[in-house]
Amino acid sequence: MSESIALNHADGSPVFLDTEGKHHPENGTLLGFWIYLLSDLMVFGSLFATFGVLAHAYAAGPSGGDLFDLRLIAANTAILLLSSITYGFAMLAMLKRNVRATIGWLLVTGMLGLAFLAIEVYEFHHLVHLGAGPQRSAFLSAFFALVGTHGLHVLFGVVWLVVLCVQVGKWGLNRTTTRRIACLSMFWHFLDVVWIGVFTFVYLMGVL
């Protein structure tokens, strides 16, 4: 039981004093950001469900087995996984309040993100060049919608990384910048979790 004493302001509105010092959490940003990520997960869930329904709607066009080059996908998976651990090193450097190491690891993570995007753009360009663009079949529409949405998230993550590097360089590590680094860490690792679903459902099961 928390005890509180009620007082009144001059205008009659109540004043609440928490005598046990259990004030509400000072910050709900990390929890709120986690809730946002889970709602984003529902977006991906709908795209996965759409892809699942249309996965064999080839319209007499090419199937995943005809189109996907698994070596390319393995390279992309390795890059994204590597970027997860480099972001982890940025978090560790942040906890030690090492500004230069934090910025350095964030930049390495950003470079890996760009490499991932470069390979993905190359893959998409190659598919469109083959005549297997999103307009070819329902399967390819669903494929481009799902993988493209993930790629856009990575792109926004890279933009955010660059902005954070500038902010940390300018202001150092304080409550504001550490909060933003922790939020982006969740975002970045979340994208890697979604990618597990993409390479399993879309690519590996697509060529089986």
């Binding site: 959490p25 889970l38 996965f48 996984l81």
Partner: protein
């Protein structure tokens, strides 16, 4: 956040998990193994039928999601007073309903669909 009250930790926002290098490295090593095996299973066609391979790679994917949640996203029953995990479980239930429900309903619609005109034409030709 009693573990942040020491003065030299004041630059950190409340609620940032205290992560260790060991946690990240263990997560990374496990993820590499759990990624490499499904790629190998599919690329080298190790298992006898595609159905068995599908089940195997789905199991590896689920295991890897758990590894990422624990090692990289630092999910545990205590973070944010349990609200993180509760929200995650709620979303997982919704996801299962959306995914299984969609596939189930659409599969049945597909199976029970009236044959399209050109299919009926073909059936008439066969008679």
């Amino acid at each position: 956040m009693s573990d942040h009250t020491s003065h030299d930790q004041d630059f950190l926002e409340d609620g940032i998990p205290h992560v260790s290098a060991k946690e990240y490295l263990a997560g990374f090593a496990l993820s590499v193994v759990l990624t490499a095996i499904p790629f190998w299973l599919v690329m080298a066609k190790v298992l006898p039928t595609p159905a068995i391979t599908t089940l195997a790679i789905l199991a590896f994917a689920m295991a890897q999601v758990v590894v990422h949640m624990v090692c990289f996203l630092h999910m545990n029953p205590k973070s944010e007073g349990g609200w993180n995990l509760l929200a995650l479980i709620f979303t997982a239930v919704l996801l299962v309903i959306v995914l299984i429900g969609t596939l189930w309903v659409m599969h049945h619609m597909n199976s029970n669909m009236m044959p399209a005109t050109h299919d009926m034409q073909r059936m008439q030709d066969m008679q």
